[in-house]
Amino acid sequence: MHLNILFPAIINGLLMGAIYALIALGLTLVYGVLHIINFAHGALLTAALFAAFFLHKLFGIDPYLAVFILVPAFFTLGYGLQRFVVGPASHGNDGNILLVTLGLAVVIENMLLYAFRADTRTIDVKYAFDVVPFAGMFLSVPRLAGFAGAVVVALLLWLLLTRTDTGKAIRAVAKEKLGAQLSGIDVAHIYAVTFGLGAACVAIAACLLIPTYYVNPNVGNAFVLIAFTTVVLGGMGSIPGALIGGLFVGVVESLSGLYLGESLGQIGIFVMFILVLLFRPSGLLGERA
């Protein structure tokens, strides 16, 4: 196929992949530290999309500025959910945590459905269709903003985990809980901080998505399925893995959409997923068990 079509498809895949990476980042962080899959991740994304939607609709707050409201709000929400709902309800049993997060997802989604019905909503921002010329292509400005946002978040997260005491404590708890407790690290607090960070990642993703996307009470599920795939592809719990996995999934989706038709784009993701698992079961950057 002609490069004039192929190259833009790859670039567009990378731009979308960055958002996948951002959602996967939150999921893999929680998995890496709490060793559970957070099934409420998709519902939190949906809730964040609704929040960004209404901040714009009711108060005229631009989605990119809403980041500064929604990040603290969702961090607090995630912290509280883990500290006061998931943690206490699980009684220290990982299997229970799984079920509690699944239950949370059902509750959140149905509350949104009850409150806002199943209507699909979009916002109108004047830059939604802005493009910039780049190497003979036209790139969507909101998608570029999404890409830049995802890269900045990944960088900040990396700095947090490697340069701050809280970040180091998160990594310590992930691998050696008893050693961490005996160093004076409050594990329940660190779990909640990690859950909060996962929710904050989703809030940022929502703000970056809403200018070009839509929201309805089920919208998070499509993303979280891709995010699960991304996390497993990249290696469970690996942060660079989530980034590379997200970009990879974005490109694969874009290319298979190009070759197989838009509606079959996701087939490529899952074929690739099966292939990677066949030949590298621990994921691209995962540690061998």
Partner: protein
């Protein structure tokens, strides 16, 4: 009764589920003291350490440290009070650098003195300085034990509990380790040494307790314990 003791455990009962492991422990460690708790596998040594550190709940009795009761305190609050426990099996953070492991030792306490204390630990264990940027999981067993103790010292403890520091080390390293523990104590640090290695432990401590089936069967000065006829029975079941 209030005592001048740094650590004062009285009538401590603790266990897991239906099983009672500790059946009435009385233990005193004074400031600047070095005291051994000796016992064979399964005697309850690690449970005692975990109970003092707040990780296993005390069912009965009291634990007083530095003038405050700590038997209901969280593990983090106990570290903050200056009681630091270097656990059996080292429990270092294998995925992180030696330097980061030491930094986390001062997560809860003495974080303003971090740089100076790290320098002190490096002076004591030059091997750790050489390997400061290396992942802790790649260290040898002896180096990991040094790191675990170094991490404990980063909190400027008032009392250091060492659980089986000689476990899995070569005889030469064991000797070095005990000499180092003695040096720490000579510098004024109170140490509670919990060990299976009876002979070498008794060489460096002032007093000792022999733990058997969850209670102390012998206690006294190191010399008294060494000459006690029951000692062999406690360890060999004779």
């Amino acid at each position: 009764m209030s005592t001048d003791a740094l650590l004062n455990v009285r009538g401590l009962h603790a266990g897991y589920g239906e099983t009672e492991i500790l059946r009435g422990i009385d233990l005193v460690v004074g400031a600047g003291d070095i005291v051994a708790v000796l016992g064979s596998n399964g005697a309850g040594k690690s449970t005692l350490n975990l109970a003092i550190s707040g990780l296993v709940a005390a069912r009965e009795g009291s634990i007083e440290f530095d003038g405050r009761f700590i038997h209901d305190a969280s593990p983090a609050a106990i570290v903050a009070a200056g009681l630091v426990h270097v656990p059996e099996g080292r429990r270092i953070f294998p995925n992180m650098s030696v330097a980061d492991n030491l930094d986390l030792g001062s997560y809860r306490r003495a974080s303003s003195q971090r740089a100076a204390n790290r320098e002190r630990v490096f002076a004591m264990f030059p091997r750790l300085r050489e390997r400061a940027s290396q992942r802790a999981g790649t260290l040898s067993g002896g180096e990991q034990q040094m790191l675990a103790i170094g991490r404990g010292l980063m909190a400027e403890p008032k009392l250091l509990i060492l659980d089986e520091p000689s476990l899995g080390l070569s005889p030469l390293l064991v000797e070095e380790m005990f000499a180092m523990i003695l040096r720490l104590n000579k510098d004024g640090l109170a140490v509670l040494l919990v060990e299976q290695n009876v002979v070498q432990s008794l060489d460096i401590v002032h007093r000792g307790y022999i733990l058997e089936h969850g209670s102390f069967v012998i206690s006294g000065s190191a010399a008294d314990i060494r000459s006690d006829a029951n000692l062999k029975r406690a360890f060999l079941g004779l």
